[in-house]
Amino acid sequence: MNHFNFKSLAFYGVTIVSVLLLFRFVSVYGENNLKAPPPLNSRYRLTLSENLPKCEKSDTLTLNIQQSGIYLNASVLPANAKADTDEKHSLAGIFKNRHLNLSGKVGRSILCNIPRPQNDPLNSVTIQMQLVDKGNMTGQLTINGIPQTLKFTAVPEKAEEKSQKF
């Protein structure tokens, strides 16, 4: 058989070995020099230091985060929302140097923790967070139209058992 002669085998050997060497080189380089952002929890409980103005009660909120590297998509939910609620992510942002920046729109009913009315006015919000030890975060919430910034702490919630895995 022609294709098993020495020349072809040598060619295949050389190409395969060089690709493996390239892979080896790139992976060593990557492991040592490239740093991907640390994994974030998918669910945080936000405890606000003070009540939202114009709200009667708004002590805690839930922040759902879907992380794809440095790109984040998130949604703010009432604190008692079910763990697997599939809410559309309304906030988008970037995670860089242990610092999160999220902005988007959140319904007023969620922020105030009241039942959702027919016409839920949307507030533009900006969330800035800083990763501190043990995955906890501190940050501030800015709501468009409200001058003061609200400080909060975010504690990761235990990820509930993932249903996809077999």
Partner: protein, 736 residues
């Protein structure tokens, strides 16, 4: 709502939508499977969840997703078994040396580029819980995928399976497929254990299991095949055993630490490739898997595809970069390797595009990656887009680099081509082109009359000496149309078998034609086609056919006589068409041409004259019907032509002019005493060119003899020129 009911409603929606979108994609000449993948994406957050988020959450609540996952995994296992089953060593027979080189390079180049791409992507779209090595390995594997099953269908659909390009692409894809699965197995092992060193036991265990399957497993399966051959059929017990084997093998590979799908694939690949066993097994398994389970996999995958995640311009740029690297890696790798192996530019380029087909194999790989957490939802979406685009572009790019008209009609018998070549090259000045009749034959066993008529039209009987004769060729055309484009029957090996079978039937038909001398001018064409009418018209144009002679049977359920394929051919074919309604008369000796003097009638008359010249015993009656007392005569041109006919022919023509208020009735009456009535599609005879009006079929229904309906396309085809040179100058101007 009860969860089972909800899941069943979901399945209903999934299957319905995937069929609908699939058919939509088929109509734009794309594989059905792309449509099904798109349907899955439409059901997810990318479209349904975007336009109606509340309805989407109600219909696809998170608690039903695990059930869809179970169904999709079952579907995947059996689908992988089918892929393995389809992998036939026959595909490895053609040009192995070129194929091995090409497939090697076409994996190594995109793999290397994928590894390099990981350097850019890893800090952006991955997180620290995934090691760089795993990420790079996985991205490399995702880039080097070629979807064998989708490619095989594209090749069959384009009738490439017999050509050099087709066999080469299939061999490359088969080698690629196996290599890519091995690569993926390694990537999964590394992903699960974290590094190469940890993956080594898994890799060793996998190799041992593969070895076992290919030796002991194969030995056992061969005994099973022997049992099948003795029994002659696949019993339910045997099938149960095989299905248990599939699931058990899947479980073993999962336990080893690679993935469920590998075990199923391996068992399929290890199955002895006994033609009948494989076909019966595939046919029994595929319908439920492909119709019911696979769309669920697509929907499950679509639910996780969130195109909305690409919400920044830079992310679309990254997506374009991934797409560019994927396409360039496969294309350049394949092209260069093929050129080095001595393949010409056009074929190398076509091969490059073909190998870019990633289709649902890529989707399988991506879902595994997402499930293992190796890739993030964002890069999953980007790679799904890449898989869709690379598959979608294959057919149009193939057509662009390697147009159908350049693909040799290599299913035409080689001798016929050689003969045509000799004829045309030897006497180019005297014979510009042979007289060619294309005869679409749907069922060789019932359409002998049609082919016999074509032969009589084409060739003079023995003993008739004509001083001037064109070569004439009759091409019975048998197009095999697949109902499903993703069934086992549309795999290249199976398509070849069907073509050979149909060719055999046609040969048998040809061998019954009389007189035997004429059989040499009959050259069948057998091809796969997705649209019979369109393909017929295309072949007619490519082969420079003079006449399409098509048979017509009364449709069983439709009142529209000339609707369906015959109607489509009549409207679309850019050549003269004659429709033969066979009333079963063996001899066609006495002919009747009702003549009202339009171009279609001229064709009718010309064909009648051909028959007259070719058969010395033929008699022709030309019937002219006048509505009132004005006595019409044959047109000047026709008269001139008649005068030029040899006396021996002219003596057998009788011109009858009668007066009748209803021409159709008069013809029907006259047809009683003849064997064949030849009529143009003109208004007086009730047959319009479109043949869809309300007068359309009176003649076809009531005519007492066999009927040949003619529709002239071009006014300058010289049907008689091949027999009577002196007429050729008049014929085109027969009627203006």
């Amino acid at each position: 709502m009860h969860i089972v009911i909800l899941v069943l409603v979901e399945v209903l929606i999934i299957i319905g939508l995937s069929r609908l979108v699939g058919l939509g994609f088929r109509s734009i000449k794309q594989p059905l499977v792309i449509g099904e993948i798109v349907a899955g994406i439409m059901l997810g957050p990318s479209l349904f969840g975007l336009v109606a988020p509340d309805v989407a959450v109600t219909l696809f609540p998170p608690e039903t997703i695990p059930f869809l996952n179970v169904l999709s995994q079952v579907g995947l296992i059996f689908f992988m078994f089918l892929i393995g089953l389809e992998l036939n060593p026959k595909y490895l027979s053609g040009q192995l040396e070129v194929a091995i080189l090409t497939s090697h390079i076409s994996i190594l180049v995109p793999f290397s580029l994928g590894t390099l791409l990981a350097v850019i992507l890893y800090p952006l779209v991955s997180n620290a819980s995934v090691s760089f090595t795993t990420f790079a390995l996985f991205l490399g594997a995702a880039m080097s995928i070629t979807a064998f099953p989708v490619l095989a269908r594209i090749i069959t659909e384009n009738n490439l399976q017999g050509t050099r390009l087709g066999t080469l692409a299939l061999t490359c894809a088969a080698v690629d497929d196996v290599t890519a699965w091995c690569l993926l197995a390694v990537a999964i092992a590394v992903a699960r254990t974290g590094d190469f060193a940890g993956a080594i036991p898994t890799i060793i265990a996998s190799i041992v299991y593969i070895g076992l399957m290919l030796t002991a497993g194969r030995w056992f399966l061969q005994r099973l095949a022997k049992h099948y051959l003795r029994a002659g059929r696949l019993s339910q017990l045997l099938l149960a055993g095989i299905y248990m084997g599939v699931v058990a093998s899947a479980l073993i590979t999962e336990l080893i630490g690679i993935h469920l799908i590998f075990g199923a694939f391996l068992l399929g690949a290890a199955m002895p490739k006994n033609e009948d066993l494989v076909r019966e097994l595939a046919v029994k398994t595929e319908d439920f898997v492909l119709i019911f389970l696979l769309p669920i996999f697509f929907a499950y995958s679509g639910l996780k595809t969130q195109i909305g995640l690409l919400n920044r311009p830079e992310l679309w740029l990254l997506c374009a970069l991934i797409l560019g690297v994927a396409i360039a890696g496969k294309y350049v790798g394949t092209y260069v390797a093929a050129r080095v192996s001595g393949i010409n530019k056009r074929e190398a380029s076509a091969l490059g595009w073909l190998m870019n087909t990633r289709g649902l194999t890529e989707l399988i790989v991506l879902n595994i990656g997402l499930e293992l957490g190796v890739i993030s939802p964002l890069i999953f979406t980007m790679l799904v887009i890449m898989a869709l685009v690379t598959t979608f572009m294959t057919s149009p790019l193939l057509e662009w680099t390697y147009p159908k008209k350049l693909i040799r009609l290599d299913v035409v018998e080689p001798e016929s081509e050689a003969e045509t070549d000799i004829n045309t090259s030897a006497g180019r000045e005297t014979y510009p082109h042979p007289f060619r009749i294309l005869v679409p034959v749907a069922n060789p066993s019932t359409q002998k009359g049609l082919v016999q008529l074509a032969v009589t039209l084409a060739q003079p009987a023995v003993g008739i000496a004509l001083n001037y004769r064109y070569p004439a060729i009759v091409n019975p055309l048998s197009l095999i149309e697949f109902e499903e484009d993703y069934a086992f029957e549309s795999t290249p090996v199976e398509a070849d078998r069907l073509i050979a079978q149909r060719r055999q039937q046609l040969e048998e038909l040809i061998n019954t034609l009389e007189p035997p001398e004429t059989r040499s001018c009959v050259h069948p064409i057998v091809r796969i086609s997705s649209n019979v009418a369109r393909e017929t018209a295309q072949i007619a144009t490519l082969e420079q056919v003079n006449l399409i002679l098509v048979g017509w049977h009364r449709p069983a359920f439709s009142s529209n006589r000339f609707g369906g394929r015959v109607g489509q051919m009549l409207t679309t074919a850019p050549v003269d068409v004659a429709v033969f309604v066979d009333k079963g008369k063996e001899q066609l000796e006495s002919l009747l041409v009702p003549y009202s003097g339009n171009i279609h009638d001229d064709l009718a008359l010309i064909l009648a004259l051909r028959l007259l010249i070719n058969r010395e015993t033929c008699m022709l009656q030309i019937l002219q019907i006048v509505a009132n007392h004005t006595k019409e005569e044959l047109s000047y041109e026709l008269n001139t032509m008649m005068e030029q006919l040899p006396t021996s022919v002219r003596d057998r023509i009788e011109i009858k002019i009668i007066e009748a208020p209803e021409p159709v009735q008069a013809v029907i009456q006259a047809s009683e005493s003849v064997d064949l009535t030849i009529a143009g599609t003109s208004r007086p005879w009730g047959i319009e060119r479109q043949t869809l009006g309300r007068y359309t079929d009176q003649l076809a229904m009531q005519c007492r003899s066999s009927l040949l309906i003619t529709r002239r396309y071009s006014q300058v085809t010289a049907h008689l020129a091949s027999m009577l040179p002196e007429i050729s100058s008049q014929e085109p101007t027969l009627r203006s």
